[in-house]
C-alpha cells in the first residue's frame, strides 16, 4: 500500500513539475493588438531617429523615451518633439500592458517594462543617449 502511495506521489510530482516548467517557457507577443502597436511605433521610428541621433531624445530605464536636450532642436520643433515623445510613450505603455495581457498575467507588466527598458538601451545605436540607473544621462 505504501508503495503505491509513493508511486502516486512520484507521478503527481512529475506531473506538477512538468506543468510548471511548461507554463514558464514562452512569451506570447503575436496578437492583433500588439502588431497594431508595433506598426504604429514602426511608422514613428523614422521620425524619432534624427532626435535620437542629435541627443534631443533619449531612452529611460522604464522602457520609455524622454527629452534629453531640448537645445538640440529648433524652438518651433520642440513642441512637435514633445508630442512625438508623448505618442511614442503612449504606444510603449500600451505595448507593455498588451504583452502582459496576451500572456494572461497583468502582474508581469512591471517586469516586461523593465526588460524592454534594458533591451531598448542595449539595441540603441552608437551616439544615442540613455538614462542610467542613477538618473544621469549617458551617451552610447
Amino acid at each position: 500500500m505504501s508503495n503505491q502511495i509513493f508511486r502516486l506521489m512520484l507521478l503527481l510530482f512529475f506531473a506538477m513539475v512538468s506543468q510548471a516548467s511548461f507554463a514558464s517557457g514562452n512569451i506570447e507577443i503575436d496578437t492583433p493588438a500588439i502588431s497594431q502597436i508595433e506598426k504604429s511605433m514602426q511608422q514613428r521610428y523614422s521620425q524619432l531617429v534624427p532626435f535620437y541621433t542629435s541627443g534631443a531624445v533619449g531612452f529611460t530605464q522604464d522602457g520609455l523615451i524622454a527629452m534629453h536636450d531640448a537645445n538640440a532642436v529648433s524652438l518651433a520643433e520642440r513642441q512637435m518633439v514633445n508630442s512625438l515623445i508623448a505618442a511614442e510613450n503612449q504606444d510603449r505603455n500600451s505595448l507593455y500592458l498588451e504583452i502582459a495581457r496576451a500572456n494572461n498575467n497583468l502582474a508581469w507588466e512591471v517586469e516586461i517594462r523593465h526588460t524592454f527598458g534594458q533591451r531598448w538601451i542595449k539595441l540603441a545605436k552608437l551616439g544615442w543617449w540613455y538614462q542610467a540607473t542613477n538618473g544621469g544621462w549617458v551617451q552610447k
Partner: protein, 46 residues
C-alpha cells in the same frame, strides 16, 4: 511498520499538494522576455 510508511506517505503527499499550490505561480520567463523584446524592438527599428 506499514502503518508508519502509510502516514509518512500521507504527510508527504499533503505537503506536496501544498507545495504544488505554490509552484503553480508562473515565474516570469526572463530569457524568453529578452528574446521577445528584441524581436519587437528590431521590428520597430527596421
Amino acid at each position: 511498520m506499514k502503518n508508519i510508511y502509510f502516514y509518512a506517505g500521507l504527510v508527504a503527499f499533503v505537503s506536496l499538494l501544498l507545495s504544488a499550490c505554490v509552484t503553480i505561480n508562473i515565474h516570469f520567463p526572463a530569457a524568453a522576455a529578452d528574446e521577445a523584446a528584441d524581436k519587437i524592438i528590431k521590428k520597430v527599428m527596421q
